[in-house]
Symmetry: C2
């Protein structure tokens, strides 16, 4: 639509709608832009799928309906793992998922979601917004005509649900565990067998003994899936996904057709959801953990210290090897790694020191 046409329609539409809507301005016109958002989540999936819904709602609300976004769950328009290509080709203007799903295009994409023993949610935001991360992420997606934005974070995940005890590194040998991505690679290096299964098949696979263990997200999502009925032990911490950034991806051409204010609304709505999802998990996980422990009598276990140490060393190897793939991967790794090292040093006198002081004395 041309700008002048829009102005006429905007004015006409707004006046017509004004009677019903009460306070209204030119912004309350009929939708100038109608976008589709394809997602990698089941429709309305708690936290992740509802985060995508929130994002769409915020854009519509802040634009006064000038830009509407209709959300499609996985498979509704395209399968989960075709979301990136659908946005790249313009089949959908927008998508919601996570960068590690597209590692087939470039393994370095995984740095924009999470890596084992890497940055937490707030630290990821520090790297992305103020540490050069977003520039690298935009560079990564540029060949696909796709713009990335951070749009959600699961925070530190749990280690997962196990039917075998992990008392030493030897217990990882032969362990069949659903753990995708780099976490799975770490397990493989320590003798385990990573398996990749979609979320909907995990309960049955765990119950039947097809797998010995599975990671998922955290108490809020795990409780809903009923894993406590299929596994003996709930391990922590989730070293493999310490703060998984979810992404909104936007077709570049569609974005460039928007006026500057709608562009700002789209990008800032992503930032709101990026923060809001962390808040939602922060509020819902503690209560869900209490339910798992008190009502369902779940046995909570920490990975032993020496197992964590081995996992960390293997993680460092796996992540460092990503840097060897190509020049771009090397650049991303260097940026991420420097940020991580400074951040860990700071955390020991900041977040980590505080959380220990608060908890050690809480008995």
């Amino acid at each position: 639509m041309q700008r002048r046409d829009f102005l006429k329609k905007a004015a006409a539409g707004s006046i017509a709608a004004g009677t019903a809507l009460g306070a209204s301005t030119a912004a309350h016109a009929k939708a100038e832009f109608k976008w589709k958002m394809v997602t990698t989540w089941p429709k309305n999936f708690p936290g992740l799928g509802t985060g995508a819904n929130n994002l769409a709602g915020l854009i519509t609300e802040m634009s006064g309906g000038r830009l509407t976004v209709k959300v499609y769950g996985a498979k509704e328009l395209v399968p989960a793992f075709e979301v990136f290509d659908a946005v790249s080709s313009g089949t959908a203007e927008m998508g919601h998922g996570a960068a590690y799903y597209w590692k087939g295009k470039n393994e370095a994409f995984q740095f924009f979601s999470t890596v084992p023993f890497g940055l937490t949610a707030n630290e990821m935001n520090g790297w992305l917004y103020y540490g050069g991360g977003m520039e690298l992420w935009r560079e990564a997606y540029a060949p696909f005509k796709v713009l990335p934005a951070a749009a959600g974070n699961t925070s530190v995940q749990m280690g997962g649900w196990f039917n075998k005890e992990i008392n030493s590194i030897a217990d990882l040998k032969g362990l069949k565990m659903r753990i995708p991505g780099l976490g799975g690679e770490v397990l493989r290096r320590l003798g385990g067998t990573p398996v990749n299964l979609p979320g909907g098949e995990l309960f049955t696979a765990l119950s039947s003994g097809t797998i010995d263990a599975t990671e998922w997200v955290g108490p809020y999502n795990d409780l809903a899936f009923g894993f406590y009925k299929a596994a003996k032990y709930y391990y922590y911490p989730g070293f493999h996904e310490p703060g998984t950034t979810l992404e909104a991806i936007i077709n570049k051409k569609a974005y460039e057709k928007l006026p500057a204010d709608l562009q700002a609304i789209v990008m800032n709505a992503c930032k709101v959801v990026n923060m809001d999802m962390v808040a939602e998990y922060a509020a819902r996980n503690p209560g869900a953990l209490q339910t798992l422990l008190n009502k369902h009598k779940v046995e909570l276990r920490s990975y032993p210290d020496d197992v964590l140490q081995q996992l960390r060393m293997a993680s460092q190897e796996v992540v460092a090897e990503l840097a060897k793939k190509d020049a771009f991967s090397a650049k991303v790794y260097a940026s991420y790694q420097k940020f991580l090292e400074d951040t860990v040093a700071f955390s020991t006198v900041s977040d980590q020191a505080y959380l220990n002081a608060r908890a050690e004395n809480s008995a």
Copy 2:
């Protein structure tokens, strides 16, 4: 301005501006609303003041200039501690500060900024957005016709700058420390003398021996103030301010005059800044700490464990006493305390466990 008038002007303004601005819609009208934002910070103060600037900029940008916000530093329009009253009376439509500055109106306001040994930034957001906190905060400010929004967070602060060693609880006796609010009350209970001084006077007071110690924010802000030149030791963690929520306050009448899309833009811009400031500190603090340690040879020290334990017990007393002031304070305390207890239990298997695993193995 009436809506119809605005529509005409919007269309005219947009067409006129369109040539220069490129892509433009009806939203690029002349400002329909011009707001003033008074703040408790020195103009452009890094992190806090620049956060207020960001907030104003985001609102202007997302509204396509329909709502502009001019930022005033402390004393430019009103003194820092009159910001709340200025927004309440409508002298300014908006303010940026922190709830604990207004504890003279009700001590319970402090729960909406931070309390010693309380919630971290993400946990605060969990309580506010999904745990009932925002509803209580709105109730707290309702008699003043002021709407609150979380709009920034300093994250876990540092303990502060000391010219006396803290080796045992006895070393707190007689300690003259600049530490305002509840942290100061905790110090007083352990025999110290809390002093309240504005930031600009701290360096001189510390250099001259007028005070023995001062807390401020964290490495990024502390480095800029040059405290390393005036103090021997840099203590951690900042038990007294584990995640101070900054606030935007909005005159209710001014807010109600906005159409729904601008209301959504104002409230969501606050959420963006709420997240963004945490990201900025996460990115800038680690490097500033490295500079303090490596270039300025600052001596970093942890409060001893038994001192932290005493501080925590005193903090619990001080915070619990807030609940006894009145029925509203009791209600806020009950909500906050329940959330805190569940959260601490979760953090021990989540954030805390992860940060320990990441750091313990990093040697």
